[in-house]
């Protein structure tokens, strides 16, 4: 058994941590948070040069041919530094969708450009009045043209293309479609959100041309697999962010004096920080297990993904809200960075559906196939 990342993977992580620690501080996050910018273009350019978007793309499509484990260690650092860039939309979701469901031709058309950072993509699954998690999709495709409204869509105003879930008007199921966001019939706009450093938006579609991605009617199956993978990568971001919040709390309460002693010396604060640590360690262990399941395409992936997500969401909530609490009044100010982590934790917790969705997904995996239960 070896439940640890390799030395090479750890090296990638250390490099990423050093780079982001230096270049992606709260000041860069705030540049996006406090403006209408779609992302931090300078940082994103450097991330491209470091090859991060290419990490898990096979070499034959212009990628680095590394795997999910490498992506996981990067995700943890991205979460720690709150990188304000289209990582989850483009790298964890859109790129993966094409890898997973694209034809050879589609892969050749899109993956090399994604790997080189020439374009970014996003996914448009959610709708306000239909729940993708219950198999509901209202946006429709007829004769190769798509119409309807998708909201919220991460990085909607930045991405070059979107992978859209839509219903073929004739069919009783739904499929995924590739949509060029500069095409006629696409109107996109930003929407305000809890974490403007990872902007959300909406797509209003009127007879915009689309191309099928994957088999007709296979939308649900592909999305299911995509969400599992993305849940694990997001769990690493959540763990990284939660750990950064814990470190902030540790540093602040050690230096802050009340009643003649550091507030960290009060047991109430020690227990608070210990609880944060425990939640983070459980989440980290579950994220590692998820990384293994994802990298080996294990049959346990659905359970591992839901487990990683449920505990990472809990840990991030706990750590980011109690970090504010540990800072006292300072934690409630705009000026202090506590709220950046708190906002990001909300964003990540909701992006692929909230706790109810993921707890259900988890419990689905625990239901025995055959019923030989005792009756009470």
């Amino acid at each position: 058994m070896n439940f640890e990342f390799s030395d090479e993977q750890k090296f990638i992580q250390e490099q990423a941590r050093a780079f982001l620690g230096d270049k992606c501080t709260a000041a860069q996050v705030r540049e996006v948070l406090e403006s209408d910018l779609t992302h931090h273009a300078g940082l994103w350019q450097q991330v491209i040069e470091l090859g991060w978007p290419a990490t898990a793309i096979p070499e034959e499509y212009g990628g680095l041919g590394l795997g999910y484990l490498e992506l996981c260690v990067l995700a943890e650092e991205i979460g720690r530094s709150l990188l304000p860039a289209p990582v989850s939309s483009s790298i964890y979701l859109a790129t993966e969708a094409i890898k997973l469901a694209g034809t050879e031709e589609q892969k050749r058309a899109w993956l090399p450009r994604l790997a080189a950072g020439e374009i970014t993509g996003t996914v448009a699954f959610a709708e306000l009045d239909a729940s993708i998690h219950k198999g509901q999709v209202a946006v429709e495709v007829a004769g190769g043209k798509i119409s309807g409204c998708k909201q919220p869509v991460a990085d909607a105003t930045l991405a070059d293309f979107a992978v859209v879930a839509a219903r073929d008007i004739a069919a009783d199921n739904f499929s995924l479609y590739l949509l060029d966001l500069s095409a006629e019939g696409v109107t996109r706009s930003g929407v305000d959100s809890l974490d403007p450093s990872r902007p959300l938006g909406k797509l209003e579609l009127k007879q915009a041309p689309v191309e099928l991605l994957g088999g007709a009617g296979e939308g649900a199956v592909t999305i299911d697999r995509l969400l599992n993978g993305a849940a694990i990568l997001l769990a690493f971001e959540q763990v990284g962010g939660a750990e950064a919040a814990l470190n902030m709390a540790r540093e602040y309460t050690t230096g802050r004096y009340a009643f003649g002693r550091p507030v960290a010396s009060f047991q109430a604060i020690k227990h608070k920080l210990a609880d944060m640590f425990v939640a983070i360690e459980l989440a980290r262990a579950n994220a590692y297990y998820g990384a293994w399941a994802l990298s080996t395409e294990s049959p346990e992936l659905p359970l591992a993904a839901a487990t990683a997500r449920v505990s990472a969401t809990e840990a991030a909530w706990e750590a980011t809200k109690e970090n504010i609490q540990a800072h006292g009044g300072m934690g409630f100010t705009w000026e202090f960075d506590c709220h950046l982590y708190y906002r990001r934790a909300q964003h990540l917790a909701l992006l692929l559906g909230g706790q109810r969705v993921w707890k259900n997904r988890l419990v689905e995996q625990l239901k025995p196939a055959a019923s030989n239960s005792h009756t009470l």
Partner: protein, 406 residues
């Protein structure tokens, strides 16, 4: 036990209701929703003047101080009735609820007759200037100096987190008059006129984007000796008086999120199903209902004690603790319920015009304001349960010898 109004109380309730029907508008929203508060201050002042002119301001205060000379129960009846109407008086809670009682208890008679009626009618708005950059939970560790200068006091130093200071005319300010004695004994409490050159107010931006609280700087700010509340060196007793009344004042108005959550559960459908029919929601709803009811009923018990001439004890801390924590949990749960769309902040998209999204961002402040969760637990443990204090390094030595970490 009897929850019915007495004949006299029922008459008063009918009178109040009739007056409100004529003079205020019923609330359009079925529950109170957090919104941006543009123009709210002017509206609140105008409303309160109307209330005062009609004789309904500060019902339990003596008439000579601008009150109606009635009882605390009358005040409760008023609060219950006014809750159905679209009115705003949140700006005045700190003055009337926290500062007013201390002024009544400690100020010289002529000062009371001069200042209290204007506080009661909200012509003057007041704030509470206790916390400092280096003294929040440990407010007795404050450093703002007050020095006697011939015939007046001169204040120098800085306060922080002062809610409403930007709207305030006066404040109750806790200062250090003797750094050479133990921290609790070197404090003196004053009233201060904030509209003077020695006072500078700078709003602080909160994590939710609002600006309710402020930094307040004193630079030789002048305070007449007649504005001293209690003895020189006796400020801690006065401060406790203010804090005790604060707990009572906020126990009625502090949001705990429940009313909005109940409304959401009862009146929202997701996928054609009422939210309240979802078993996961039902489980939470029942727990939160029981906590909310517990708070309400505990508040009744407290009011009964007060009506009988008692003072709110340290038990009042539990309302602050329970309500603030549950408020944040409810906000998070409700936002999560909407999955991806929960992250959107758009009044037209979100249920209750984005109330829960705003609450996610504001609720952390409520767990801090008026004493943090941790301090509330310490108060309950030490003052209610009588548990021993942790060893104290700041007691029995002069203030200026207490470790500060810098």
């Amino acid at each position: 036990m009897d929850f019915n109004d007495s004949k006299e109380q029922a008459e008063f309730r009918a009178e109040v209701r009739a007056w409100l029907e004529l003079n205020a508008n019923r609330r359009a929203d079925e529950v109170q929703i957090m919104r941006g508060q543009e123009g709210g201050y002017e509206r609140a002042k105008a409303w309160y003047k109307k209330v005062a002119d009609a004789g309904y301001a500060c019902l339990a205060w003596p008439k000579e101080y601008g009150g109606a000379g009635l009882s605390q129960i009358h005040q409760v009846i008023w609060s219950q009735e006014v809750a159905d109407f679209d009115t705003a008086d949140g700006y005045f809670v700190i003055g009337i609820g926290n500062c007013g009682p201390a002024v009544q208890a400690f100020a010289p008679e002529e000062v009371k007759r001069d200042l209290l009626p204007k506080m009661a009618s909200a012509e003057h708005v007041w704030c509470q200037l206790f916390s400092e950059p280096a003294a929040g939970s440990d407010v007795a560790g404050l450093r703002t100096r007050a020095e006697f200068d011939g015939d007046k006091w001169l204040l120098n130093g800085q306060k922080i987190w002062t809610s409403g200071a930007q709207h305030s005319d006066y404040g109750v300010v806790l200062t250090r008059t003797d750094p050479g004695v133990s921290k609790y004994r070197g404090l003196t409490l004053f009233m201060i006129d904030l509209k003077q050159p020695g006072v500078e107010v700078k709003p602080i931006k909160q994590m939710d984007g609002g600006r309710h609280f402020n930094e307040v700087f004193f630079n030789d700010a002048v305070v007449p000796d007649a504005y001293r509340l209690g003895e020189v060196g006796g400020g801690w007793g006065g401060a406790l008086h203010v804090l005790m009344n604060e707990r009572m004042a906020i126990s009625g108005v502090q949001p705990n999120g429940f009313a909005q959550f109940l409304h959401f559960c009862q009146h929202t459908e997701v996928d054609g199903e009422r939210v309240i029919d979802d078993p996961v929601v039902a489980d939470r709803l029942a727990s939160w209902y029981a906590r909310d009811a517990g708070l309400r009923n505990a508040n009744w018990r407290m009011l009964t004690a007060i009506a009988g001439g008692g003072v709110p004890g340290a038990e009042a801390s539990l309302g602050k603790l329970v309500g603030a924590v549950m408020n944040q949990e409810i906000a998070n749960f409700s936002v999560d319920y909407y999955n991806e769309a929960g992250a959107i902040m758009d009044d037209t998209v979100n249920v209750l015009e984005g109330h829960f999204q705003r609450s996610v961002l504001f609720s952390p402040g409520i767990r801090l304001a008026g004493g943090t969760d941790e301090i509330m637990r310490n108060i309950i443990a030490e003052q209610v349960l009588g548990l021993p204090q942790e060893p104290r390094v700041d007691k029995g030595i002069p203030f200026n010898e207490i470790p500060t970490g810098s």
